[in-house]
């Protein structure tokens, strides 16, 4: 075996050292002849005779060399190298053609590598955890974006952990942490950071091993404590990549924390659990601290070996009815009945994107088909001009197989060059995409062109090369030798067979482009409709900043502090409104049992959830929301009557057909008066419908705001206000972290970014498809006209008018285009049905999209046909006839 291997190695080496080996062989053979001559001379021959005899004894020198080649190397490889050299030489001679072909291929293949990388990163590759196929996400079925509705209490966590029979480990993280909830002094500036409390076993269950230090121990798991595990990027960026960091203190929020571990680079919490956000530090969650906070924990489990998802679901169904929301309250038993439903973590993370990604993949595949058709066309045209060359080569004894191989080598060289360039494009594009923090797609930050993508590229290059090379190759070598040699080349129309093949190519190109444009059109229209949605607030010219203050839990003090901040900020030129809220729409949300009509009797255990926002006066106008009744004001204090603002949906559900303002509700065991009604807010997602919303004052009822975002509406561009606002806040509180204002629009953009991402990508592909298709049509028609120069000349000499000639060419083009459009429309209808679920407020058969596509493609075809047609009509009959 090793002998075989060594031979193969030596044979391969022989290919590369051809020159040296040849020289050595020449020397050796020369010695051989010389020795023979010497011997013959000794035997008494004349010098001439001695040499002649020596040559006879030796046999043919050339034959000996050839045999030597055959034994020492791979003759097939030699031929291949020969083919390659020839292909490169031919292509170099036709530089313009080669450049265009490579460019088109690079665009097509590059787009394919990018999309493959996206699909591979999000869909195909397992999650970046050990044995990630065993990980499950536990949440109520269809809980969607409702954060309180998809989390559980600390008591439920502990019961589930001890009672379940399905998991080798169950863990949780605190789902209500806000971005930038910590601050750290760095170079004299308070820098915001994001920290998330996790159950102590979080990293064990996920199978993530710190690269340095350890994760939390039993004591820290039970009691919490000031220890943190930090992300790799945080360690590199903010801790100076200190390799002795373990055990050192880091001060955050004026509290020293000890760094006990650094996580591996591959672990990115945000990429998996909250796309588009970064998490810097992790602290152990002390369950006792959140026992009274209700639903705060998101659950992740690792299935035991051999336990199926179905078994875990059955287990959960049986157990969840036994859990308490809070064991202090016996009546909270059973609130989770039917609300525990494990799904694979992978499905939770990327399942909803599957269809979009597959559509994207198909779109980009269509591009590649169009590219192939285009190149087939180009090669066919080129092949036609080389018919004579090939006929000559065949008649001189070249084998047909060899000729086909030669042509395929050429197309493979083209496709390989295209793939190489495409790879460069893809590298740049994926690097760019993965650094777009604003794209809320899971795992996208870890995207790069990896080994799988390289393999895909090789596969594409070969498949594409064969696909577009095979038709011209076969046609070329199978042509009638006699005819080709006799044929005078350009001038007459070609046989019907030729014409038909080209028609098929044009028709399929138009059809493919049609499908792409219809698909992109539908997605784009959906996206535009989404942008048009009335969110219930006006994101433009509003911005938010997280504000720190210390009120010691005293509501009166809080009111004074907040009012002071509001007044100071209001004085900044350009600020029209300013107000606080603990949560912002489309970000973190929280649900409580909603208000009920006071005095009305409800069935026992009746509850209707509501989204709760705890706000200050000024927040509602700052968000650009309209209020019926009145806004909160600073006199709504701890001593005055409890008040609330509710949304229209809540109001009309509680008092159908009546005005809710002034009515009294029973809410959280208290009487609260409704003082205002606002428009429905898209609180948790842009495309869904709103639920009940309740706005409560920060200064009343001890509702307990969780953090505070200051929202500012301004008459001038918001970005210009960053500095003055920050200065004002820091003059009030030196502990204010330095962060820029966040435009509210960016929050909306973040929420719509997946749709934007897909719409824009498909849009780009459709444009690319359109350009390629029009180039293709133009190329074919233009080529046909050139081929027919002589024929057109004859027709004109016989009396055909310029208009007639021109019309014939255009009509011919439009006929092909229309056939393609009919075919494409049929396919488009089927495709549109398939992507129905991705559309928003747009029918799959949207007449505008279809009509627009047909018009666009017809116009493009008309232009692509008109240019050659004009050329045809300018042909001078006499010159055309004289021309060979």
């Amino acid at each position: 075996m090793s002998g075989t291997l060594r031979r193969a190695m030596q044979r391969t080496m022989a290919i590369f050292h051809k020159g040296k080996i040849d020289a050595e062989l020449d020397r050796e053979l020369k010695t051989h002849i010389d020795l023979a001559v010497d011997e013959n001379l000794l035997a008494g021959m004349s010098p001439k005779e001695a040499r002649r005899k020596a040559m006879i004894q030796f046999g043919g020198v050339q034959q000996a060399k050839e045999k030597h080649y055959a034994v020492r190397g791979f003759p097939l490889v030699d031929v291949l190298i020969q083919d390659l050299r020839f292909a490169l030489r031919t292509l170099r001679r036709d530089m313009g053609f080669a450049c265009i072909a490579v460019l088109i291929l690079a665009l097509g293949i590059g787009a394919n590598i990018v999309v493959f990388s996206v699909v591979n990163t999000i869909l195909l590759r397992p999650l970046p955890f050990a044995d990630s196929q065993q990980l499950v996400w536990i949440a109520p079925p269809n809980s969607g974006h409702d954060l309180s509705g998809s989390t559980y209490s600390a008591d439920a966590y502990e019961d589930y952990k001890s009672m379940n029979r399905s998991f080798s480990g169950l863990t949780a993280y605190y789902a209500f942490s806000l971005p930038d909830n910590l601050k750290m002094m760095e170079n004299g500036v308070l820098k915001p950071l994001t920290g998330i409390p996790v159950a102590g076993n979080f990293f064990q269950v996920l199978g993530v091993q710190p690269v340095m230090g350890r994760s939390f121990n039993d004591l820290e798991t039970r009691t919490g404590g000031n220890v943190i595990v930090v992300s790799h990027s945080f360690w590199q960026r903010d801790l100076g990549a200190d390799i002795n960091i373990i055990g050192k203190p880091v001060t955050m929020n004026n509290t020293p924390f000890t760094v006990i571990g650094v996580l591996p680079e591959t672990f990115d919490f945000g990429a998996v659990f909250s796309p588009g956000e970064k998490v810097d530090v992790f602290a152990p969650q002390n369950m006792d601290n959140i026992r009274n906070e209700g639903n705060t924990l998101a659950f992740i489990g690792r299935l035991k070996q051999g336990v199926t998802l179905q078994q875990a679901r059955a287990d959960a169904t049986e157990l969840f009815q036994k859990f308490y929301s809070n064991k202090k309250y016996a009546n909270s038993l059973g609130v989770y009945k039917g609300r525990g439903y494990p799904v694979y973590l992978k499905d939770y993370v990327s399942g909803s994107l599957q269809r979009s990604l597959i559509v994207l993949w198909c779109a980009v595949g269509t591009i590649l088909l169009i590219v192939c058709v285009n190149l087939s066309n180009l090669l066919l045209a080129r092949a036609a001009t080389r018919t004579k060359e090939f006929a000559l080569r065949i008649s001189l004894g070249a084998g047909r197989v060899r000729l086909v191989r030669q042509l395929l080598t050429e197309s493979l060289v083209l496709s390989s060059c295209g793939a190489l360039l495409g790879l460069g494009i893809a590298y740049a594009a994926t690097a760019w995409l993965s650094h777009q923090g604003s794209i809320a797609l899971p795992l996208i930050s870890s995207m790069h062109v990896d080994a799988a993508a390289l393999g895909w590229t090789v596969l594409l290059a070969i498949a594409v090369g064969l696909l577009f090379g095979i038709a011209p190759g076969l046609k070329m070598s199978s042509g009638n030798l006699h005819e080709s040699l006799k044929d005078s080349g350009p001038g007459t129309s070609e046989g019907r067979k030729h014409e038909r093949l080209r028609t098929v190519l044009v028709v399929s190109e138009v059809a493919l482009a049609c499908v792409l444009i219809v698909g992109a059109g539908l997605l784009l229209r959906s996206f535009l409709h989404v942008l048009d949605i009335d969110l219930g607030f006006k994101p433009a010219s509003a911005a938010a900043i997280k504000v720190d203050y210390n009120d010691g839990g005293d509501m009166v003090k809080r009111a004074a502090i907040l009012q002071n901040i509001q007044e100071r900020v209001d004085q900044i030129p350009g600020v029209t409104f300013a107000g606080f809220s603990d949560n912002l729409p489309l970000e973190r949300n929280r649900g409580w049992d909603g208000p009920l009509v006071k005095g009305k009797s409800y069935p026992p255990n009746y509850d209707h959830g509501a989204y709760i926002y705890i706000i200050s006066p000024g927040f509602i106008p700052a968000m650009g929301m309209r209020v019926h009744g009145r806004d909160l004001n600073w006199s709504d204090g701890p001593k005055s009557e409890l008040v609330m603002i509710i949304n229209k949906k809540c109001a009309s559900d509680l008092w159908p057909g009546e005005d809710a303002v002034g009515r009294v509700t029973s809410f959280q065991g208290k009487d609260v008066r409704v003082v205002g009604v606002v428009d429905d807010l898209h609180e948790s997602n842009v495309e869904g419908v709103s639920g009940w919303q309740v706005y409560l004052p920060m200064t009343q009822g001890d509702w307990g705001p969780e953090g505070s975002e200051l929202v500012i509406r301004s008459a001038t561009p918001v970005t210009g206000l960053s500095l003055p606002v920050l200065k004002t806040l820091q003059s009030i509180n030196a502990g204010q972290a330095a962060a820029p204002l966040r435009p509210i629009q960016s929050i909306v953009d973040h929420a719509t970014s997946p749709r934007r991402f897909f719409a824009i990508l498909v849009g780009i592909f459709a444009t690319l498809g359109l350009v390629l298709a029009s180039l293709g049509i133009y190329g074919v028609i233009s080529y046909t006209v050139t081929r027919k120069t002589q024929e057109i000349g004859i027709r004109m000499a016989l009396g055909a008018t310029r208009e007639r000639v021109q019309r014939d060419v255009i009509v011919n083009t439009l006929q092909m285009a229309l056939t393609g459009l009919v075919l494409g429309s049929v396919v488009s209808i089927a495709v549109a049905r398939e992507i129905r679920s991705m559309l928003y407020d747009t029918q799959p058969g949207d007449p505008a999209t279809f009509a627009g596509t047909v018009l666009l493609l017809t116009a493009v075809a008309a232009v692509a046909g008109y240019l050659p047609a004009r050329r045809a009509s300018r042909i001078e009959p006499m010159r055309a006839l004289r021309n060979d």
Partner: protein, 114 residues
Amino acid sequence: MDAKLDLLQGTLDTMVLQTLTVMGQMHGYGIARRIEQVSGNEILLNQGTIYASLVRLQQRGWITAEWGVSENNRSAKYYAITRAGRKQLEKDAAYWHRLTVVMGRVLKMTIGEI
């Protein structure tokens, strides 16, 4: 004169190995001449074909080659058999002995022996 014997496939390699075993280091011309002489000029050997055989044996690791100087002062490539080559020669020799015996028997076969 009778036509010379054509070389059977693979026989030349064995002859080269045997020649090198007996003669020690040798150049291509020497090997070719030696084989011609020993065969009593009965083999049809184009001396040039020996070089294909030599490169094949080299690739298999049965012989080694290095440049040296011949007795009449010409620089020539000298070949020597390796240990693996000797082993291979033993196998080949045994094979040829068995084959000649069998061929001899088969060709001496008469009607009576059926």
